[in-house]
Amino acid sequence: MEDRTFYNEVITDHNLHPLHKSDMDSPDIVLEGVNPSCGDEILLMLKVNDGVISDASYSGDGCAVSQASADIMIDMIIGRELSEARRLCGLFMKMIKSEATEEEIEELEEAGALENISRMPARVKCAVLSWRTLDEAIAGKE
């Protein structure tokens, strides 16, 4: 018990060595997400060409769950169409609610590492912060 943990290597790696935590010059879209109960903050920055996310990064401050989740998400959406990114957001939400099929979780690649967050209801908000922020922003554009 002492050593079992939700914080698997995918999460701790993305938290400690983020791939996309950086500023961006003149992004096309800037999205802010705040999780007031924890104090998590996320600033998503996207470059979009012809409906395709050509580049993305984030800055922020918060718990490992929120930061790793953002890093994983950004890694997945770069190069995808906005609509495709939204579909992934939907899949992620489904997974969090334990409603996703095995194939769907597979499709979420590294984000599948967050599947067990549903066992920690108070932390679900942290996991979905960046996804919800992205989803709402794209929905607002449509």
Partner: protein, 405 residues
């Protein structure tokens, strides 16, 4: 550590070996005697007190007033100086609305310590905004003490009211209330004390305390949720306007004129919470039967053991005093590179319940330059093995989070 603790733990149905409940500063668990007293009340004596002329209602009234006398004796007060509220927050808001809004004026100063719980800060901020009084901040050192300079800056001859906690829920240190109260009283001001973290853990005598008003919560001292206390000097309470108005707090009501009831009833509008008061009485009787000698010895031993263990773990930073003796059962801390919410979740995976966040003391967090922190807090029913479970998990946190990999 007293070995009897395992017998004491049997009084608490919720305590077991699976989960170490170490968030006692947030709320405590309830012994069987409290649950039984509340149940006995509802099963044999329940009625609306004061209002009825029949026996059941008389019994309910007697129980309620017995609870009031019990709470009074517990803090060395007179019976009619005890007002039952919902919790410490309501007690403090009562004072803010009744005293603050009606007595303070532009130019008056309200001094509030930077370490106050939001419940003893926001009401005064509101009073200042609405009355034009000036809100002054009594700053503290990183170890939770107040320097003479800080005191001189905050408390002046214009200080009409000082809001100060007896024990901070972050530092766990006993504040020099009497010394500060003397200064405020010299200029005719009054002192509102927050006893939420002190009354449950050490003997309280309101005459020795030196404050004019004292608020505390039942649920932090073994009683059910929904019952709290405001103590005040009788003359002061008597001079204060009512807060909430309605049934029970009046003597006579006509469309064009009202006579309010006497203190303490004047401040208890609507049907009172007899069940809650009976629960608080049983909680106080339980505390008295254990005795504060036992309770304090127990909590101090746990604090000492835990603080020592924490100091030996790399990357763990304790907030407040170095010395366990200034931590009355409360140790707030941070872990380098690990967010407090992650600390809590990782603790939870090991069956350890501790608090994460700003502890409703965000101005203090700002002052200390800490965004948020973790907190372990003990009650007398905790054990060394629970403390060790916390320490063992704490020892692994940084490596679980990938540091040193």
């Amino acid at each position: 550590m007293n070995r009897d603790i395992y017998r004491v733990r049997e009084d608490f149905a919720i305590l077991n070996d699976e989960v170490a409940y170490l968030d006692n500063a947030a709320t405590t668990q309830k012994p069987a005697s409290v649950m039984a007293a509340v149940r006995r009340y509802y099963e044999t004596q329940n009625a609306n007190p004061f209002r009825g002329v029949y026996s059941l209602s008389e019994q309910a009234t007697a129980e309620y007033e017995r609870a009031r006398a019990c709470a009074a004796a517990f803090i060395g007060a007179k019976d009619n100086e005890i007002i039952f509220t919902r919790n410490a927050s309501e007690s403090l808001n009562l004072v803010a609305y009744s005293y603050g809004m009606n007595n303070l004026k532009p130019g008056d100063e309200i001094a509030v310590s930077i370490m106050e719980h939001h419940s003893n800060f926001l009401p005064w901020r509101m009073v200042a905004q609405k009355t034009g009084a000036v809100l002054k901040c009594l700053k503290c050192e990183p170890d939770g003490t107040f320097s003479d300079t800080a005191i001189a800056e905050a408390i002046t001859d214009k200080t009409k009211l000082l809001a100060i906690t007896c024990v901070s829920n972050v530092f766990g240190r006993v504040n020099p209330v009497r010394k500060l109260a003397n200064m405020v009283h010299e200029n005719g001001g009054i002192v509102v004390c927050d006893g939420a973290q002190s009354v449950p853990h050490m003997p309280t005598s309101v005459s020795e305390l030196g404050a004019d008003l004292l608020a505390f919560s039942g649920h932090k001292m073994l009683a059910p949720m929904g019952i709290g206390v405001l103590w005040g000097r009788y003359e002061l309470l008597n001079s204060m306007e009512p807060f909430m108005q309605g049934g029970e707090m009046i003597e006579t009501v006509h469309w064009d004129r009202v006579r309010y009831a006497e203190v303490p009833h004047k401040f208890e509008a609507g049907t009172v919470n007899v069940g809650g008061a009976v629960g608080l009485m049983a909680a106080i009787e339980y505390i008295n039967s254990l005795g504060f000698d036992f309770i304090m010895a127990q909590e101090r031993a746990l604090t000492e053991h835990t603080l020592k263990g924490m100091k030996s773990i790399n990357g763990v930073n304790v907030i407040g005093a170095e010395d366990a003796q200034h931590h009355e059962g409360i140790i707030a801390f941070t872990v380098d590179g690990v967010h407090p919410h992650d600390v809590s979740s990782i603790m939870n995976e090991a069956g350890v319940c501790i608090r994460a966040g700003h502890h409703c003391a965000q101005p203090l967090m700002d002052h200390l330059g800490v965004r948020s922190s973790s907190r372990v807090s003990f009650a007398f029913y905790n054990t060394v093995s629970e403390a060790d479970r916390f320490l063992n998990r704490l020892d692994t946190i940084r490596s679980l989070m990938g540091y040193g990999r």
